[in-house]
């Protein structure tokens, strides 16, 4: 008992005061990219050529955050002449098109379905479905339940049964072998229900795009309401998206 008290005192309170106070991530973190539209087209082509995800569209001078794994190669190869990654972690979007970005994203709070805010704003229960990703999206979603983020203080919980859930939170590129289980889980959630695509894999197949063993686009099976980009999305990216979309 004494040890428990001693450790409790040593640990103190570690919960972040976000979103009441802003939080700053270390400068090497790669969040929302800034794009220099005046960049030399040759440099843009160089960035597009090195992009392992083929996420850079030269003519439009845009970057597809639904494909991007935020590896930073486009920034490195041209010393940031075309793309520089900011430390802005808030990157959720309510449509797939919005993720094809010129460096800005529409304000998420204004684009959410208003009845979702009314229905789920005070209590949101999600069933997580892990569908053939690499487990880092799952790991950084789990982290939201640790004392630093303490997701439950916002009335948001991950629950054990789809019957108890208001929606599904899907990670991974959806292997053929997970498709049936995913649809069964979605069907088991009572309506009205939300669908969240979390991470590059669920949005576009991520690192596995083009594989014949995957579906690669959650929206092609069930209608997606909220997209959270990243590889994996930073826990703060997920938290930001959930708070802005539902609160």
């Amino acid at each position: 008992m004494l040890k428990i008290i001693k450790n409790r005192v040593e640990q103190g309170c570690k919960t972040t005061s976000y979103p009441k106070e802003p939080i700053h991530l270390y400068k090497r973190f790669r969040g929302l990219p800034r794009i220099n539209a005046d960049c030399d087209p040759a440099v843009i082509r160089q960035c597009a050529a090195i992009c392992p995800q083929d996420a850079i569209y030269c003519a439009e001078k845009k970057i597809d955050l639904g494909k991007c794994t935020f590896c930073g190669r486009c920034e490195n190869v041209a010393d940031g002449a075309f793309v520089t990654f900011s430390q802005e972690f808030g990157m959720g979007a309510s449509t797939r098109e919005a993720l094809v970005s010129d460096g800005s994203l529409p304000a998420l709070a204004e684009h959410s379905k208003q009845h979702f805010k009314k229905l789920f704003g005070r209590s949101l229960q999600l069933r997580q479905i892990s569908a053939a990703g690499c487990n880092s999206c799952e790991a950084d979603t789990n982290v939201l339940n640790t004392p630093f983020f303490d997701l439950a203080r916002f009335g948001i919980d991950f629950v054990a049964s789809p019957r108890h859930a208001d929606g599904i939170h899907v990670t991974g590129p959806i292997s053929k072998n997970m498709k049936a289980a995913l649809i069964a889980t979605f069907d088991a959630v009572p309506s009205p229900k939300v669908v969240i695509a979390s991470g590059a894999c669920a949005i576009s197949g991520g690192a596995f795009y083009g594989s014949p063993e995957i579906v690669g686009d959650l929206n092609s099976i069930v209608p997606v309401d909220l997209y959270i980009p990243g590889c994996p999305p930073h826990p703060l990216t997920t938290l930001h998206a959930l708070l802005h979309y539902f609160k």
Binding site: N7, R73, N135
Partner: protein, 511 residues
């Protein structure tokens, strides 16, 4: 060619970890000789690192990489079937032979447990060994093992689990609370990674390898990059080797600490679960300080690292370790001295040394049962040849032993990182991903001690230097069977605890 690569047509060829070997010098034996050599090797304390099929000049071949205190390679030609080594020699072969059957449609005859591994059509468009029609949903034609009797009942769990966990299916055969048998059926995470690696453009290779298993991003990508470096003749700066080793240890720390917290949660002792959960994040944040990603993705590239570690990052890591070490020591003490925790950890999920050796367990699962093998010691690469090893004394093979090995390795890893941070002034250039030519007609195998144990990648190039076969082995490939065996005669309520003490990768296994 190195002088030690003597062509011995009729024996095992000794090789080094991460060494390019011309395919022409790999001894290709008759199957009888291949089986005879492997039988003698395995029965004399030898273990399998890789055993896989490939097609060469239209012929089906098997290639084996095996280890005792050295590494060896050998190959053989087979037709549409071969006599199972699982049946004749050792269960160490059993999962490898099932994988060969699934990937290439080659039947290991008399295999005692010939079932699909991941549920996909084979690479050769050959007749399916399991009689599956892959337009049907998983698991297809998969006869589960069943125990029959009046008091017997069956419990089926998954693929979607009651937490934020990867998918897999578990079948328990129980009498009351007691588990007679657990069968684990995986494959739900299968993404076809091995084949993709032979087809995608060069620039995607490292990104794919980082996503084989996100909790082992550094471990898997190191294997890939070391193999490409060997085949491309690239040298790596000592400073880059130091940073890669630091990253591998940070990955180990984050996972071990997170798992001790989860073990604590599984026995309903909440304070350490909360503290370790938060502490785990601190180590993920240190990886983010190094490279901008909490899982170390994008850090390792062929030839070095994408971002150099300056004094600033070294200081952040060093200061953080100084701050966290006493906290971790105290929370470990809290966990391991609680009587209720000891009562649940001790004698639960025991895997004897004999069983561990029969199954060829690796990593902390093997070490907790008395198999000392650690790639960092046996076949050191990166900065490990100059670092000292941890040797654990607790080898009872139960949950308590597996947890204790983790605790020791946490302390050991922090010590290693401190040692590595003191190496200042080593040359280290920043790398960008660039395409280079690979040695044609060559073979390379790389091994690293990921946090779960031996991670290994094997590459074969064709006459134009293209990757013809890419074989990946996650340590989970060995260890899942260990988990199934640890559940025998246990209470079913101890499953979460046993499972977490192994904490194996679904996606690393499913590929």
């Amino acid at each position: 060619m190195d002088s030690h690569l003597q062509i011995k047509k009729d024996s095992l060829l000794q090789i080094q970890n991460g060494e390019t070997v011309p395919r022409s010098v790999i001894p290709c034996l008759t199957f009888d000789r291949f089986a005879e050599l492997l039988d003698a090797f395995v029965k004399n304390n030898g273990f399998i690192v890789q055993l896989f099929a490939f097609v060469e000049d239209g012929k089906n071949k098997l290639l084996a990489v095996v280890r005792n205190e050295n590494l060896y390679v050998l190959a053989t030609e087979v037709g549409e079937s071969f006599p199972s080594l699982t049946a004749s020699t050792s269960p160490r072969f059993h999962m490898f032979e099932r994988e060969i059957a699934e990937q290439y449609g080659i039947t290991p005859k008399d295999h005692p447990w010939l079932k699909m591994v991941r549920y996909h059509a084979n690479y050769r468009q050959a007749a399916d060994v399991f009689g599956n029609d892959y337009s049907e949903d998983i698991p297809g034609n998969y006869p589960y093992f069943q125990v029959e009797g009046e008091a017997i009942h069956e419990v089926a769990v998954g693929p979607v689990h009651a937490g934020i966990i990867e998918p897999g299916h578990f079948r328990f055969q129980c009498a009351g609370e007691e588990v007679f048998s657990l069968e684990i059926q995986l494959g739900y995470q299968h993404r076809g990674v091995e084949r993709m690696l032979t087809e995608v453009p060069f620039k995607r290779l490292t990104v794919l390898c980082e996503n084989i298993a996100g909790d082992t991003s550094i471990g898997h990508n190191l294997c890939c990059c070391q193999a490409l470096e060997a085949l491309g003749g690239l040298s790596v700066d000592p400073g880059a080797r130091t940073v890669r080793s630091i990253a591998l240890e940070l990955e180990r720390l984050a996972n071990h600490i997170g798992d001790l917290g989860a073990l604590s949660g599984d026995v309903a002792f909440n304070p350490p679960a909360a503290y370790f959960g938060r502490l785990r994040g601190e180590f993920l944040n240190l990886l983010q300080v190094l490279c901008g990603n909490r899982f170390g993705k994008s850090l390792v590239l062929p030839g070095g690292i994408s971002q150099i570690m300056t004094g600033e990052q070294a200081k952040i890591i060093g200061d953080k370790l100084k701050e966290l070490e006493p906290e971790i020591t105290n929370v470990c003490d809290l966990l391991f001295t609680a009587h209720t925790v000891q009562a649940r950890f001790e004698n639960t999920g025991t895997v004897s040394k004999q069983m561990a050796a029969d199954l060829g367990l690796v990593g902390y699962c093997g070490r907790a049962s008395g198999l000392e093998y650690d790639v960092r010691v046996a076949f050191p690469n990166e900065a490990y040849s100059s670092l000292h090893a941890n040797r654990n004394e607790m080898v009872a093979g139960d949950v308590y032993s597996r947890a204790t090995v983790r605790r020791e390795e946490i302390m050991h890893s922090m010590h290693l990182i401190r040692t590595l941070l003191n190496r200042k002034g080593e040359p280290c250039a920043k790398m960008t991903m660039h395409e280079f030519t690979l040695a044609p007609e060559s073979f390379v195998v790389t091994l690293n001690e990921g946090w779960r144990g031996e991670v290994s990648h094997c590459l074969l190039t064709d006459k134009d230097g293209r990757i013809e076969r890419y074989k990946i082995k996650d340590p989970s490939f060995h260890n899942w069977t260990g988990l199934a065996m640890s559940l025998r005669n246990q209470e079913i309520s101890d499953f979460p605890l046993c499972n977490k003490s192994f904490n194996l990768s679904y996606c690393g296994f499913d590929l």
